[in-house]
Amino acid sequence: MKSDNYITAHPTLPKFDYVKPSSLREASQLLTEHSGEARPLLGGTDIFVRMRDGDWEDKYLIDVKAIDGLNDISYDSTLGLTIGAAVNMNRVSDFPQVRESYPVLVEAIESVASYQLRTRATIVGNICNASPAGDTIGVCMLLDGVLNVFSDSEIRQEPLKDFFQGPGETNLQPGDIVTSLQLPVPPNGMIGKYFKLGRNNASDLSIVGITAIGYPDPELVSGFRIKLALASVAPVPLEVTEVETLLGNAPITSQLIEEASQTAMDACTPIDDVRASARYRKLMVKNLSRKVLTDVFSTLNDR
């Protein structure tokens, strides 16, 4: 299969059956029946690449985009943002309340591939694919995002903080279908930043991705709660909770930010791969955490 793909002028997809159920129950049944040889299809921007490469050999792709509710995006002043699983990234970043209240999510989305790929790619797909490099995952984790998952006729909730088990591995079981992502209303005065280090400014996968959010919190010694998440430097998208503690418990100085950046570097466990060496990644985590944390803190402090 693999060698065929390399020599044909039109690399074709391997054979599979496309099925488009109209209800969650039907889709879930199909996925359970064909466990191990079927997967849900959203934008396909990862699936088709993996299938062409011969990495994935599913016999069934279950297109869940026609299911009621999966195409909806809405904002509620108590519930926050609900992003249906099938809502593509461009629709999310164009949504007025997202631009207004979650600008760091817009920043993360706009760092993903290209505009035309984001017409297909989805946030929920990015999360379920569970790549440590997923650009939009860090911000969703830091914002306490929760997935709504359908299985056995009921919806359960999966907080993102405990969702990832390894590269491509999550708490999802065969037959589970994520219907939406819920992002709570952001805290007042929240500032966020996503910094992506790649070979070029756009379109590439990250070598290191740094997400930070911060907001005033009078209960803390420093007066600010600042959280940090890292991409591409561990088997899973990684929140470094020690940074939040460190920057909460003492007045924030450049020395303390330096210490927090060192903590981030110590917390990550990158590998050598085609994009960069582990050693380079570690150093970049320290340098870029310093940069991003300084940015977020000075913006908060200057207001």
Binding site: P11, F16, F48, S114, T119
Partner: protein, 154 residues
């Protein structure tokens, strides 16, 4: 493998096509409808040579199944000219000398048309961001960007 009979509008013409599950929109356009303006480059959604409009939005046609386009409105580079006249972005690219080997151009035209439809007066930064997903290995992009600016003025 399952086959599907789909109906879609391609460049304002209603088409009925039989497609296997694993046929991409790109393969269907080129091989079933012989619309070979749309090019196959990388087959991984990176180069943008296969970009077409689906319901007005640009998509890499190598990254979407034909069967997913049932009921959709598709526009390829062949559908850009109206009433026998080239689209302003086509005229501008010719005038600016933005075409060398030409392989990326169908995708560049589609992405540019989509940009101008959603933002008639883009800044240079916005033009560059809109064309991030269209790789050109000849021109160095300068004249392509000039052409989009030019088309925005017309």
């Amino acid at each position: 493998m399952a086959h599907h009979r789909i109906q879609l509008t391609v460049n304002d013409e209603l088409e009925q096509v039989d497609v296997p599950s694993n046929m991409t929109l790109l393969a269907m356009l080129r091989e079933k409808l012989t619309l070979t303006g749309t090019k196959n480059g990388c087959s991984t959604g990176e180069c943008g040579a296969c970009t077409v409009l689906i319901n007005g939005e640009p998509v890499n046609s190598c990254m979407i199944l034909a069967v997913e386009c049932n009921g959709a409105q598709v526009t390829t580079v062949e559908g850009l000219p109206q009433d026998g006249k080239l689209d302003p972005i086509q005229d501008a690219l010719i005038e600016a000398g933005g075409v060398q080997c030409g392989f990326c151009i169908p995708g560049v035209l589609i992405s540019s048309r989509a940009l101008l439809d959603r933002n008639p007066n883009p800044t240079e930064e916005e033009i560059r961001l809109a064309l991030v997903g269209n790789l050109c290995r000849c021109t160095g992009y300068v004249r392509i960007i000039e052409a989009v600016k030019q088309a925005a003025r017309t």
